[in-house]
């Protein structure tokens, strides 16, 4: 049973760590939004796994909050980027500080 516990925490921790790497490296704001969404879902899964392993239902209401927070965060940031695009003169947000689009970079990254 301890091997199962170690495997569960290692897989969830590894997934969260890789999502954090994409959150730090992600070239555009939308990459970071996707990484944050995935990270919050992985955190919710980790809390549920912790509750299931210890058979302690204390953190179960926190899951509802985390699930709703991921949705509200990603939707609000997507609308914010859309508003920046509306306000930019060049049409792609470069003049307002958004990074270079993925199409314009080299195809290696």
């Amino acid at each position: 049973m301890t091997f199962v516990q170690v495997a569960l925490y290692a897989m969830i921790g590894g997934g969260a760590l890789l999502a954090l790497i994409r959150l730090a490296r992600g070239p555009s704001l939308l990459d970071r939004v996707v990484a944050t969404d995935t990270l919050l879902v992985i955190i919710a899964a980790g809390l549920a796994v912790h509750a299931a392993l210890t058979q302690d239902p204390t953190v179960v209401p926190v899951l509802v909050v985390v699930a709703l927070l991921a949705f509200v965060g990603s939707v609000s940031v997507a609308r914010y980027v859309g508003g920046m695009l509306l306000r930019s003169g060049t049409g792609d947000g470069r003049d307002l500080g958004l990074p270079v689009a993925a199409e314009d970079r080299e195809a290696g990254s």
Partner: protein, 134 residues
């Protein structure tokens, strides 16, 4: 009874945790926003459902089961909405590698949606807005 239900619960938990690890790998490895979102939504629906089923088997009492079911229903309802908004802004922001697309129904010569006519900020202008009025 407890042995069999524990085995089923741990199998569900292990599958959900494996999907979480897969999402992290896909987020790091994949090239653009749409494919990263494709990888990232694996634990959002199936992984969370599996983990919730495992947790509902392990935890006692109907209150926990209903609350885990509520979380799963929220995920099923909200994942398509946020994915739709992010992917639309990503396409208009040209964060999609169009050389990797097989089908591009939104672009092309005869597309209808070349002018911004929405009334919400998430409806971003297209990448070629034409001459600016004023």
């Amino acid at each position: 009874m407890t042995g069999l239900s524990d085995v089923i619960a741990f199998a569900c938990l292990l599958a959900g945790a494996a999907l979480c690890l897969t999402a992290g790998l896909g987020l790091v490895r994949f090239p653009d926003v749409l494919s990263r979102m494709h990888a990232g939504t694996k634990p959002q629906v199936l992984g969370v459902l599996l983990v919730m089923v495992g947790g509902a088997i392990r935890l006692d009492g109907w209150a926990n089961v209903w609350m885990l079911l509520l979380v799963a229903a929220f995920q099923l309802l909200t994942a398509p909405v946020s994915a739709h908004m992010i992917s639309r802004v990503a396409y208009r922001r040209r964060h999609v590698r169009r050389d990797l697309l097989l089908v591009d129904e939104y672009g092309g010569p005869g597309r209808q949606d070349t002018r911004y006519h929405g009334d919400e900020p998430g409806d971003a202008p297209p990448e070629d807005p034409g001459p600016h009025p004023g």
